[in-house]
Symmetry: C2
Subunit: 350 residues, 2 copies
């Protein structure tokens, strides 16, 4: 897989123009959803005059109907293999737009411009494109990296705080995967300056952690499982919340999942107590608590055993000996998982 | 793009078993259409017990509806990224099945077993997968080579002669692209032994011509246009025939297109007369004649100018100085194309 250029800039129009100079196209299309459409007013496309394709927002629209709509608009707009698609939006736009581009005429070039922190730090980079199909998430898609990614924090100042924090949890994860210093900077960051250059610098560091992992494992054969840190327990919380009829943002689930998996890391890989308590305290103060009782253990254990990363129904985690010292594919026994849930409740003052 | 194994064998069950040993899968699926289904009786899958997916035949069914049906059957059959799809059939099965595999869960492995000469020599090798969409052929798809291809002439003995000859035209094209000796063997071949080992040996030589070109240009950036020999004029004949309501097999159109483009090769690249006359005579005897008059020139010229290989509405051909000495992207003036059509009519005794 080629090394894609990722530009970090808060001068969006200028940087986009520079970036597009290296991607000459006979026709340019821009994909937005009804949420991200608003940021078009912040971008000057110069003489480019792209054709705008608007899709309905939300994960429920990340489906074949919407994909067909994009294909049809590319076709009716005269897109050829020399055309370019610019995806401007959150994860739904970059995932679906990426697959539309990867499959139209067997592949046209595309650029991602994430407008949420979560998509900047996660979906826009790494080449996982796709749609949901017949009830399963990301069931149809392709591994295909964007030809370029433009990341700017200027898009984030209108985002609700929950959305920012949701993305920030993935940044914390990347910090823990990299080293203590990277992680430390994140828990010291002052949240009051979302659109400023300090967050942009932290974001650049964070995205590079992911990129370095993806470059070594583009098709998710092994190493990339490191990115699963916090997600085995996090997905279980997410599923339980959904089952309760009170869905929680993905990043919040990951944050609470990181606490559970840091506990397991202490138990099994001797992660030091200070790091664990510091993390639990940070999550408690910024994300609050996901409430569970012993009665939820059975369901949570079941969700974890059926995680898609668990091939044989075992409990499979990514664990840390210390920040930056990562073990993937750790199989953990059921008693230890239960003990970790107990300690999670202690740490969260439940 | 990786170098895919292509096995040429008339011991189908044994060779398939050997080939699948290198592609261990948790579940195996076989895709056939209602035409190719019959060859399943010729294949012993041993203890594999694959799940069979049957789709309706023909190019009109190479569409999104059929693709969805395959995705759904893979899903309900419990396919994971460690599963395998074996496409057994003509070009529709290998094109659509290849794209189904390339896109299911962002890509599972697949094997092609072509059951027509045309798909063996053309569609099954080279990584072009896809479906027709909204009236345009192969509009949606991916470049993705099969993980292995098994080619056997034993499947061809029940094919109608027209089908065999249609595929054979692409072999003639490959011969002309390679060298005189390869081409000569083809026009000396005795058609009475279709399922025998002699055709298998010729086919191996022919497929390797294509493979050597594809390996050098997997994404069709330039060199691969060599494979377009015979196709600019051939597609025009095919379109005209369709317009007349009397469709002709693709390979027949290519055969007659080869004659027109050999005439242009003589006019512009000094291809020797003996090769031209020999080719024209061979095509005349085996494929008969596609009838055209001066009144058809306007339509034919229009089709040629709008060929998808002509980016700017010019007449664009692949031409030969001699067999094996290939020039791609030759822009030819309108008078020369008309003159070539005149000479085609002479050579075809029209």
């Amino acid at each position: 897989m080629q090394h894609q250029p990722i530009i970090f800039s808060n001068e969006v129009s200028k940087s986009l123009a520079e970036l597009l100079e290296n991607l000459p196209a006979n026709r340019t299309f821009v994909l937005v959803d009804q949420n991200s459409q608003v940021v078009l007013s912040k971008i000057d496309f110069g003489k480019l005059d792209p054709q705008i394709i608007v899709i309905p927002p939300g994960d429920t629209n990340k489906n074949l109907d919407t994909l067909q709509k994009v294909w049809l608009e590319l076709q009716s707009g005269g897109a050829t293999r020399n055309s370019l698609l610019i995806n401007i939006g959150g994860g739904v736009v970059t995932d679906l737009g990426g697959f539309a581009a990867a499959s139209f005429k067997r592949g046209i070039r595309f650029v991602n411009v994430p407008t949420t922190l979560l998509s900047a730090v996660d979906a826009a980079v790494g080449g996982k494109t796709g749609i949901n199909f017949n009830g399963l998430k990301n069931e149809i898609g392709a591994f295909r990296e964007a030809d370029a990614v433009l990341i700017s924090t200027t898009f984030f100042d209108s985002l609700p705080e929950k959305e920012i924090k949701s993305g920030y949890a993935e940044m914390l994860k990347h910090g823990l995967l990299e080293d203590y210093q990277t992680y430390r900077k994140l828990i010291d960051f002052d949240f009051s300056d979302i659109a400023g250059n300090q967050l942009l610098a932290l974001l650049e560091e964070s995205v590079n952690v992911k990129r370095n992992i993806v470059v070594q494992d583009p098709f998710e054969k092994g190493l990339r499982r490191a990115l699963n840190l916090g997600h085995t327990a996090g997905h279980a919380f997410e599923s339980l919340a959904l089952h309760r009829g009170e869905p929680i943002p993905h990043g919040y689930a990951v944050a609470w999942g990181l606490v559970v998996e840091a506990v397991l890391s202490k138990m099994i890989k001797s992660l030091d107590s200070t790091t664990l308590y510091e993390l639990a305290d940070y999550i408690y103060r910024h994300y609050g608590v996901f409430n569970i009782t012993c009665d939820d253990y059975y369901a949570l254990l079941n969700y974890m055993r059926h995680d898609k990363k668990s091939e044989h129904g075992e409990y499979n985690f990514t664990l840390l000996a210390e920040p930056g010292d990562v073990f993937t594919g750790c199989v953990v026994d059921e008693e230890s998982v239960k003990a970790a849930l107990d300690i999670y409740r202690d740490l969260m003052h439940i």
